[in-house]
Amino acid sequence: MKRKRTSRIPVGAPTLTKNDFKSDQDVRWCPSCGDYSILAQTQRILPELGIPKENVVFISGIGCSSRFPYYMNTYGFHTIHGRAPTIASGVKMANPDLSVWVITGDGDALSIGGNHFIHLMRRNFDINVLLFNNRIYGLTKGQYSPTSERGTKSSSTPLGSLSLDTPFNPISLALASGATFVARSVDIHLDHLRPMLKAAFEHKGTSFIEIYQNCHIFNDDTFILQREKEHKTDHTVLLEHGEPLVFGTERDKGIRLNGFQPEVVDTTNGEYTTEDLIVHDQYAEDTTLANFLAGMSDTPDMPHPMGIFRSVRHPCYEDLMTNQIRTAKERTGDGDLEALLNDGETWTVS
């Protein structure tokens, strides 16, 4: 486990529970919205992190997902559309001791907020970003989003005017922006989501999790193949460090490299064995493998990788800045205001 700056609850203090993290506000999402599950898992893992509740801050933009902070009995700021990464950076910079979480949607993070998103990744503040990807604008009633597939029918692309834009792959974008921790999970895969949330917390640096989330009202079942029990074993592949990429209900299929392209092979018919499969390396500094895995979800008929694509340790912005300050103070002493004001050539009139 990496050293985190966030303070820990003192030994012996009463332990927190899930309920300590529930605020007094009624949770307001549509029935069956995937957001409920993500909220519940977050409230479940937080007491297990060993940090005091008052050190936790949730920052969000605007969207259905961005109402999240209101339901957390922690510090929270429901800011403006797309700008949560900037505000979160300020919160963290001013107090590196806080555990800062950004809650965002596919529109919030990748449409209006795309620039802050990529810049947050490259600065590597120790912030955790949870992107609730439902491939739609929920709050504004169902327009297509930057992750909607080309040809989506939506309120802004009604009959005769399907969407024309090629979607972003959030994982690829995060990797290209220099993200040091990149993972993917699913709203209702509780036993997968929780460890991912914890791993994001434990990672020192910006952690990004794309969470496939169902919008029951405006984009129901867009992730049916990756979400539902009966499909998911054939349409997702779990990434585990050091393990070959095996999947399928019978764990009989694997991913092999064919040139530079992924290929699904049957590991039971004798042609290939697990030896031929790609072995996952989440700690690789080079992003070629992670990029390759990211591309799979854009490739027809490929299972979508779930888990940690990349996890590497790079210096965090706030630490580098704190160091600069410390070094400067060591070099020239704590700032002396009197001396500063009187700096340079002065003269005295009496």
Binding site: E54, T86, M93, A94, M321, G335, W347, V349
Partner: protein, 617 residues
Amino acid sequence: MRKPVEQIEAATILFAGDSGDGSQSIGTQMTETTALIGNDVATLPDYPAEIRAPAGSLAGVSGFQLHFSSEQIHTPGDLCDVLVVMNPAALKMHLHKLKPNGILIANTDNFARRNLRLAGYEKDPLESDALTKYQVFRVELTRLTRKALETTQLSMGEIDRCKNFFALGMILWLYNRPMEYTMKWIKAKFAQKPQYIEPNILALRAGNTYCDMTEQFAVSYDVKPAPFEPGTYRNIEGNMATVLGLVAASHRSELPLVYGSYPITPASDILHGLAKYRNFGVVTMQMEDEIAAVGVAIGAAFSGALGVTGSSGPGLALKSEAMNLAMIAELPLVVCNIQRAGPSTGMPTKTEQSDLLQMFYGRNGESPIPIVASSRPFDCFESVYEACRIAVKYRTPVIFLSDLYIGMGAEPWRIPKISELPEIKPSFAVSADTTNGFEPYLRDPETLARPWAKPGTAGLEHRIGGLEKSDVTGHVSYDSENHEKMVEIRAEKVARIANDIPPTEIFGAQEGEILLLGWGGTFGALRTTAENYVAEGLPIGHVHLRHLNPFPNDLGDILHRFKKILIPELNSGQLLQLIRATYLIDAIGLNKVQGQPFHVFELHAKIDEILKEMEHF
């Protein structure tokens, strides 16, 4: 035999040349020296467009004007006593600023055909009759510098870059100023490149000696020190004063300063300046854009720091959505706007005061934000400090308005004692006082400020945001009456800041014919004008507003004591519009939108015209 020295009260000098000719640096040196020997001084750098224009072209001319005096002065002067031009383009651009019979020093070596053509001269103006009304000194500045430096190891190009110090040497002679300060500066400046120290000093000396020797210069001038209040002084540019004001506010409030910014002319210097003070715990973050810049400042404020952002023109337009968030979230935040000439990209290296109404109204919905404007270079210190004080006390974003003219201009500043600085007390919430738990919108009954509870404080966990909030509890509310109440409270909170504003000072007549009402960087021109009329015994007053939102409580009364209110502004009449609407007074505007400050004579002309009309009726 020493040439005669004439005592004079004041002088204005303008150095002008190609961007590469170093006018800015010798201007600054002359200013430093002049300030150090005790004159009052005011400066006006005049940059060309941001991008380098071809050498010798009109667009490439860079100028630096300074005005110094044995009396208190407030402006860099209207017309010049001395104009130093390094090439024909500089002459073309600036000759009209030279007083009749003024001294023109021209580097004749640069008046060759190509340069004349670039400046649009058919023939050499130095040879023509056009200059007969001036005292023209033709100096082979380049050749003389080369000669003086011929023994150095420098290349010809390097030698030529020293010629500005030759010119400075001449001016120092002309005004009987010592060369030592400049020499000291040269040594410090080239500490890393010592091969340049000696040559530049040689050039300086050569220029000085040249004047002593040549018959061209028969007389030199002396300007005695000006009377200053007792104290320790330094020379300071407006943007640097802003930097120091912010560091001081951070220091005094014990709030760490987080400055988020995105580079833009002329605000970048604040970023550059603050970045040097890591030892004061100052965090500067160059962000991806102006929105991110204000975003980090807001986040820092939420975290309990002094969040500040700064920009200019188009950058402010981009920040408006987030400023509105800070307003409704009622977080302290200081937004510095170093105004430049708009609209749109406009003229980024020219000055203007045309963002006032944008600062008042450039946000959706009813979004009152206090505004504090600085009036002169050194006043940036106090004004930005005041902006920080209000932000922290009232938990509100505050706009600090400055402009390119005062941001880049310099003048002597009496350095304040730390103990003189007003108190800034963050008074963070530490516990929930009510039985209902912590109520983030339960206000201080006097200031209407809400509590500032830092993340990390146990028991004060709470959520805020941009949706309308219920009074006291801060929960999201769509209730009609609550909304109206909150709109009123936010307005009232800003209005109450007026209770902190000291009584307005009226310079000159306390009532009478004309009140000059101004704000921001026009202070110098207005005060000088008022002084002139007052000296003549005319009942003219001058009020210069630091607080623009809210207005001082006594402003209405004061306005009604004068027959006419004249509001000169470097815009099309923005304060004018506010004053007319607020006080229903038929105030008159004097508006100049040329990217340039007022000349005192322009104000005189307008006032004389009004006085004449008043006699008439």
